[in-house]
Amino acid sequence: MNSSTTTHWIDRNAAKLGTPSLLLALLLTAVWAVSVVTAPVDSAQGLIQKTLYVHVPCAFAAYMGFVITGLCGIMYLWKEETAYDRLAYAAAEVGILFCSLVLITGPIWARGTWGKWWSWDARLAVTVLLWFLYLAYLLLRSFSEGSPRTARFAAIYGVVGVPVIILNYFAIDLAGGRAMHPDNLEQGSLGAGMGMPFLLGVLAILAIFFHLLFTRTEVETLRAEELRTHLLSDSH
């Protein structure tokens, strides 16, 4: 694998897509902001319901990050190309960011409507577990030495983590987790005029997610390149 002359498609595209994704993210965020402000006020919850337009998209972005980490883990173990590991790392870190935002906006919303910050609601509990899972992933990376070993260990954890996300969903239902969340959020339980800001929120947050993912991957690419230059200059 001679990566000094041929760059991997991941590194190439991450560097190339940074600016376009930033522009797209800015544009979508502007449209989203207008649409959130003009969205109708919920008759039952009042203004606070508008938290939905940022809370749920952040959850989508978090899941997106963790799924990418898992897929890249499989690809890394299969192909042993370090670019997959860099993308997996970036996706886990950006995923943790959005997962944290879900865990911050959720309690703020809860405080505004139910009057208390935290409830052990099923989805909230799953999200907390998810957060710990990927925090452990980042910790594993920082505790292991030597880059192929780190990459391999992290890939294994990322791969095992994905089925656990799914299992947790079943498990918490089973433990009789009290549900505060509506079940059919996606199936049109949104009131009239609420679909558009929600959709725009998803698109804007995903655009931001991908922009951060691309630039974070680029940082890892540069870091690997720097390491290589150091090694080359040392060997002279």
Binding site: V54, L97, L101, I108, W109, G112, T215
Partner: protein
Amino acid sequence: MNYLIASYAVVLGSILLYKAYVAREKATLKRSLAGFKTASPQESKAG
């Protein structure tokens, strides 16, 4: 209303902070790499 503003502010603030952190890392690495590329030919001449 305050809670609503707080949640959007937290989200945008965190994203911008993270973006700034990533951009700074990127700039540092680019500078260091550029430094290497200009410094290494001189080093090899000296050696």
